[in-house]
Amino acid sequence: MTAVAAEGVWKYYGDYPALRDVMLRAEPGTCLALIGRNGAGKTTLLRIIGGFSKAGRGQVRIFGNDPRETQTRRRLGWIGHGISVYDELSAFENLSLFGRLYDLPDPRKAAMEWLERTGLERVKDGLVREFSRGMRQRLAVARAFLHQPSVLLLDEPFTALDDRAIAVLQRLLRDALAEGRTVVMSTHQLREALELATHVALLNRGKTAFQGERTAQMVQDPGWVYAHYGED
């Protein structure tokens, strides 16, 4: 079954169409890199797929269901621009909070496990406020992976990360793909993203200009997709 499907999605801001009839598909076990210029609608599209905002026309299906359904939300993981963890709580409290919200059988155990996997177990009781940038980002990654989502949505994941966090994220994403999960990410960092991606979609002014498998040529020359499909 298709993991993520956008079927003729339109999104208006007032009368201005930010997305125009976007079609998108991602099968389980694949990683789709969503590329495009600033203002092309990447974030808007990802937020609709994640259920944060509603499509004006058309629909998004996650394993055939609406993204806002409770069961579907359980299967989605999200990393956005902010880290989405609380400054006033400790790393462990944050993760066990989200463990409870996602109704994990043992939230504390899951929290510990993911603190270890992201290398934060030593600072588990430190408040997030006191964390360095890199630690905060790793905690954000742990929060997104905590409930073992089958679809991961990442909005510009590599932009704000430091080297160590990038390494952690890339390893986790590779593992996830190997386990048959789906990854959809929007990105500027073509090189990092294209290494991971199995598929590429290019958005141009709210329209899908290209969608297909990632080829070796794209990795060698990241500007290639833009050159062939991106310009007007």
Partner: protein, 226 residues
Amino acid sequence: MDFFREMWVITRKDLRAELRTKEAINASLAFSLVILVLFSFAFDPTEKETVSMSGGLLWIVFAFAGTLVLNRSFAREVPNDCLDALVAAPISGAALFMGKALANFLLVLAVELVSLPVFGIFYNVHWTSHFWSLMLVLALGTWGLTVIGTIFSALTVNIRLRELMAPLLVYPMLIPALMSAMQLSMDLIAGKPLGGENQIWLRLLVAFDVIFTALSLVLLETVLVG
């Protein structure tokens, strides 16, 4: 997961985050004390006069001080985009709203329970004659305040001038609830029991709470997911 557990998780998170920094609750407490002192200059606090003004005075203090807590409710979720994580979590919007409202309710109630004896001491008013009835009115009035404050905090979470807009919208909306709470508190402090003439105000207060709680629960998802 059942509704009440989801709600409780949110409530506990909000309370824990607030009690760790105590930003809002300290500001609110200090503010309520300052207004109580300021009011003593507005009129000569002889006992008889004070009793007849007590309801109004108390609820104006509560409404002003409460807004400081309530404004923070969803604003707290803005740094780090925490609101996204809550919206994405598989809990119902109703549980999210009730959880936040309950946390706010407890915080505002705590501030009120501190300012009430202070009011009694400063203004030399014997306010405990119908203690439990007064607590009931306090709870009902505070719930009305909390519901409106919480939903409007969600409404204004992403707009500029948030701190200015919210009170402007909240106070006119609250007038009926504040009026009933003032009337009832005044009667109770003056020694009149609940029931009889002021029954109608109790009903109004309950109706206000019920109507706006229901409306908020219905509309919260619309407010958060656009």
